[in-house]
């Protein structure tokens, strides 16, 4: 039964009541209203046999006055839903509500398990860098605070928290791999800023991996510093070492190499460019070369663009085309391991301008990540 000291006791179990009281306190401090006001405002979205879960930065001990409250309405009785949250203003508090039926939630967890069991790369299937919707949704469900209703009992073979953390671990391992590879190829091509930015990204990706491997909830890229300070402060000094890029006249090569060394040590993965090349290929199927009055252009019909090439670049392109036409490059594109430095630099230039993508022969498997093994120990 709820009391003044424990206002949520009749809604949720004791442990959740403590977490709920804390988020209620925070919202009251920021906005002068509480959880019951939020529940009243979104009551129209509830179906019978539904529960409400709070996730996001405010629920995970982060957040500030301007943070919105991320809420999931879910359960066996939930009808309808959408991939886009429904926005509400409860006073000055913005509340984003995702509505998903229990069957939809279970389907996402099952998809996650399938993806984890497969050796295929993820390729953003659970969310891109810009929109991490499914990654965050799984963590909201697994780690969120039960605001109202009976907790949903998911029919899953494994604990939902383990699935959610494994998904983030592998997603960020694959992002880290690509960032590490690009940082090195950019360095070889003399692209200073691209090299540094990808090296920093690789460090941030490996830190996200470490957090997830420790079983902590995912809160997205922007909260990394505060997250480390709160829950993994042993990793803070590492992050501080690489979070600011050297200025252009400073020693950027030492920075890039140092960052990748840290990534390799923390993950246990061999991130040397030569090693990563073995499983990587550049793909640029849509381009064609057209020569007009002695000037060569690379044409992209899709983007309505023209790029003029010098003689060396034309030679590189012709060699790459011969590789493609003789079937030397299987399944589209060009295997990085088979390219000399000149052709590698050419392909990197295509990638740099959004004309080529990197494809990988396989994903980064969890059993290969040392961070997980250390976390288990």
């Amino acid at each position: 039964m709820s009391t003044e000291a424990d206002p949520f006791a009749d809604r949720v179990c004791r442990r959740e009541a403590i977490r709920l009281a804390e988020i209620d306190r925070q919202i009251r401090e920021y906005h002068g209203l509480g959880i019951t006001n939020v529940l009243d405002a979104i009551a129209y979205l509830r179906d019978c046999d539904s529960c409400v879960i709070a996730g996001g930065s405010l629920a995970f001990g982060l957040g500030n006055l301007r943070s919105d409250l991320d809420v999931v309405v879910t359960g066996a009785g939930v009808v309808g839903g959408s991939r886009v949250p429904v926005e509400h203003f409860v006073g000055t508090l913005r509340v984003d509500v995702w509505k998903r039926g229990q069957d939809q939630v279970e389907a996402i967890f099952r998809d996650a398990e399938c993806a984890l069991a497969s050796s295929d790369p993820f390729y953003d299937q659970f969310g891109t860098v810009d929109e991490e919707a499914d990654l965050k949704l799984l963590h909201r469900i697994a780690f969120g605070i039960q605001m109202d209703g009976d907790p949903m009992k998911l029919s899953l073979p494994r604990d939902q928290r383990d699935v959610a953390c494994d998904l983030v671990t592998r997603e960020y391992a694959e992002r880290m791999r690509e960032a590490a590879f690009v940082a090195q190829v950019a360095e070889m091509s003399g692209s200073v800023i691209a090299s540094m930015m990808n090296a920093r990204r690789a460090v941030e990706d490996v830190l996200h991996m470490m957090i997830a491997a420790r079983g902590l909830p995912f809160t997205g890229d922007k909260w990394l510093h505060e997250r480390l300070a709160k829950d993994a402060d042993d990793l803070c000094p590492l992050y501080e070492k690489f979070v600011v890029l050297p200025d252009r006249e400073e020693d950027w090569r030492t920075y890039t190499r140092g960052a990748l060394k840290v990534c390799s040590e923390l993950s246990g993965l061999n991130l040397a460019a030569a090693r990563l090349s073995e499983g990587a290929r550049w793909v640029a199927d849509e381009l064609r070369l057209v020569e007009l009055s002695g000037v060569a252009f690379l044409v992209s019909r899709q983007h309505g663009g023209l790029w003029s090439l010098d003689q060396d670049e034309v030679s590189n392109w012709n060699v790459l085309q011969k590789q493609r036409s003789t079937g030397h490059a299987s399944v589209g594109g060009w295997a990085c391991a088979e390219l000399d430095s000149s052709m590698m630099a050419f392909c990197y230039r295509l990638y740099e301008q959004g004309l080529a993508t990197l494809r990988w022969a396989s994903g980064v498997l969890l059993e290969d990540i040392a961070a997980i093994q250390r976390a288990v120990l």
Binding site: N64, H303, Q353
Partner: protein, 164 residues
Amino acid sequence: MKQVPIDARRYAWSRGTALWIMGLPLSSHMEDLEGAQRANQHGLARRIGRAVGESCAVVLAVSSYAFRPLPQSNMRGAWALDRIADHELWPGCWALIRGEADSAEIVAARCQELMACVQAVVVEVPDPLSPEGYFPALAMARSWLELLNAVGEPDLLPRRWTQG
């Protein structure tokens, strides 16, 4: 009557992309920055500052020079900085992207200054996250979506918004 001296598709895409970035992501970043500043969350402020610097560089690259396509996210900042190398706003974008270790207040001030300069170059976009800017921003977005449709360009809406 005066012809716009650029291909219609490229014009619609580049200006539309610039306005889209300024409309939603940048407004959201500035809101996050205000929260970080009030709570003295320096790491968050620095991270938001990086996003603002990168977004502003991209906006300048596409709106001033109509470069396309955009590369994927890990290359966007470097790509944009390379293309605006001679622009007077390059140093402001780079300082934020570097993530120089300043206080949340200084990051916020730099972001606001850069945003104001970019808006002066491109156009001022109503803040969709404010009560007074919400509908004007929607109206602007709708106009640009109509132009993109008219010239046969795909719309700029995030794919997830339109998936079933």
